[in-house]
Symmetry: C2
Subunit: 352 residues, 2 copies
Amino acid sequence: MADPEGTERTTIQDVAAAAGVSVSAVSKVLRGAYGVSPQMRTRVTAAIDRLGYRPHTGARAMRGRTYTVGVVLVELTSPFQTEVAKGISDALEDTSYQDILVTAGATPERQKSRIEALLDRHVDGLVLIAPWIEVAWIEKIAQALPVVAVALHGTPRNFDTVVDDERLGAQLMVDHLVAAGHRQIAHTSAPRAAFEDTFVLSHTARRQGYEQAMRSHGLRPDVIETWLSEEGGHQAAQQAFDRARPPTAIFAGADIAAFGVLRAAEERGLRVPEDVSVAGYDNIYTSTINRVSLTTVDQSGHGTGAESIRLLLERIEGRAQPRQFVVSPHLVTRRTTTAPSGTGISNRGRTV
Amino acid sequence: MADPEGTERTTIQDVAAAAGVSVSAVSKVLRGAYGVSPQMRTRVTAAIDRLGYRPHTGARAMRGRTYTVGVVLVELTSPFQTEVAKGISDALEDTSYQDILVTAGATPERQKSRIEALLDRHVDGLVLIAPWIEVAWIEKIAQALPVVAVALHGTPRNFDTVVDDERLGAQLMVDHLVAAGHRQIAHTSAPRAAFEDTFVLSHTARRQGYEQAMRSHGLRPDVIETWLSEEGGHQAAQQAFDRARPPTAIFAGADIAAFGVLRAAEERGLRVPEDVSVAGYDNIYTSTINRVSLTTVDQSGHGTGAESIRLLLERIEGRAQPRQFVVSPHLVTRRTTTAPSGTGISNRGRTV
DNA sequence: CTGAAAGCGCTAACAA
DNA sequence: TTGTTAGCGCTTTCAG
């Protein structure tokens, strides 16, 4: 009656007994540690296979590693973040580590508590995707375990970062629109988070890139600050269209916001791209389908995830100096942008 | 020098010392167990807060619960699955449990190994979203811990299920198309998985619903078996359009496949819905945007997730009889379906 | 109602 | 190269 369910786990003891060796020998084989003879390894491995033994992560966590990487993302509905997460999973595929994901929402409190939950589980390392937290807090936990942050621009002391060069990406888009003949190009963005000073998040980096690129073309930046959501894009576009001289192109800070812009345009009876050009940033799946064909900027989420794991594993192996990796964005021109028309809403004002 | 990093964790011992009580007292307060006086509770709680103590999940796992629910999904890029996962997270919000996610891919081997990794972490329960595994295997692990499967149709012995009534959903769509005047309605589906006999997955349930509904209208079912992906939908549509008498409507087994159908139609110069009606199933985000406006069937992923947690917590509390919960789908008619035209590809053949 | 102590399955010093 | 053993931080009997 000791085991009514018949599901007692095989332990390292069982393996040791079955192989006729000590538990520490098994432990060493398990971890690939030094000081095991080939025949010992074979015997133990055989016993492990025969018994179908798998180590208890919790027990391991008490002394050593859990061989687990914690991944924190804001939400599952963000295509870019999930692509990064996929890149992480794939990169971990042929290592001895596994990833567990956790969604945290966009509030610092929830994010911190979810990260703490991961610390409670003694993960060996952490990848934070677009963390919405004061950097000082991240620095603190990064003193205790390896951390890589994705989409956080800045130069941290205790952790690594992987970022898309979003300033460049924004510039590519502005250049594209200017080359097509646009001079009134609005940009939709989101409010700067309170903690963004020496560190900035994606939307702020994009905005900075946009502003700089506009100035370099001798144009006046026109930022409409709402939110990088469908609704936010819709509101921003309404504001833009209500102006006396509406922009001939709207460069949304994210594809999702661009969809809101498209909706607003449709509601006003404006044709895209004939009456107004619309562009986004992220190149999410929806943008690729033929009926949408949004001009946008692509940043490889998958590559970003893979790179973050490369850095994280280096840290787990002992590296302490911070590293930053920058991935290059590229422009994807599709069917929502074209030259401004000479009629309708346009940049006619220049002839005055 | 015992703590060079200054990051030694506070343990239950520290809390006990700070509160001037025993560790077992702290443990009881932690777990809300019986036999603690109010003043004991207050003292301990105060000490916990003061020290910022959080229990070590691994240590807990050695004896009791981890207060962790493992969620397994096929991939992050499936909007329905991530919505279920969100429903799960939200439902767990005001419980003492937390969820960790793991992606498993569509092969039984990987799925099993990811589930085992969760078992190694001693999760208290498991939610499997659209598991692609022999049910016998699930039954076995479900003997050892609470399990809920989502989108698996059948009557398990040891675990619960939450499913959308996909047969009904498919019927709603067929009824809609027939009411619009269509009589040649093709359905795209995927091969039946090897393990689907007494249990079936979503695509098979949808197909069954489609076939039954067609027959009930006196129509001949026309299933094109490819894969429920964009590419699969594209191939299926090409096959359909190549027929001597092409269907006037294509009901894809999933929205994502419907996008492939739309692409194939565009390539042939067929207008949707004038020349051919196209419908999907899932009501994913992309389908909702104005430029796409796909007619589809909605199943509440969020509600599904919430319900799965309700059932799982019941099981964790001790229920053993299996339960099944069915959520109701509803039709969402948008702009990709209409009456068949009398010209072009149509159901003209009837006049023969 | 409270506390002492055993032990969960591992890892890592240390001994042999 | 191998084995012995002391914990890791909790939970859970079992005494008091």
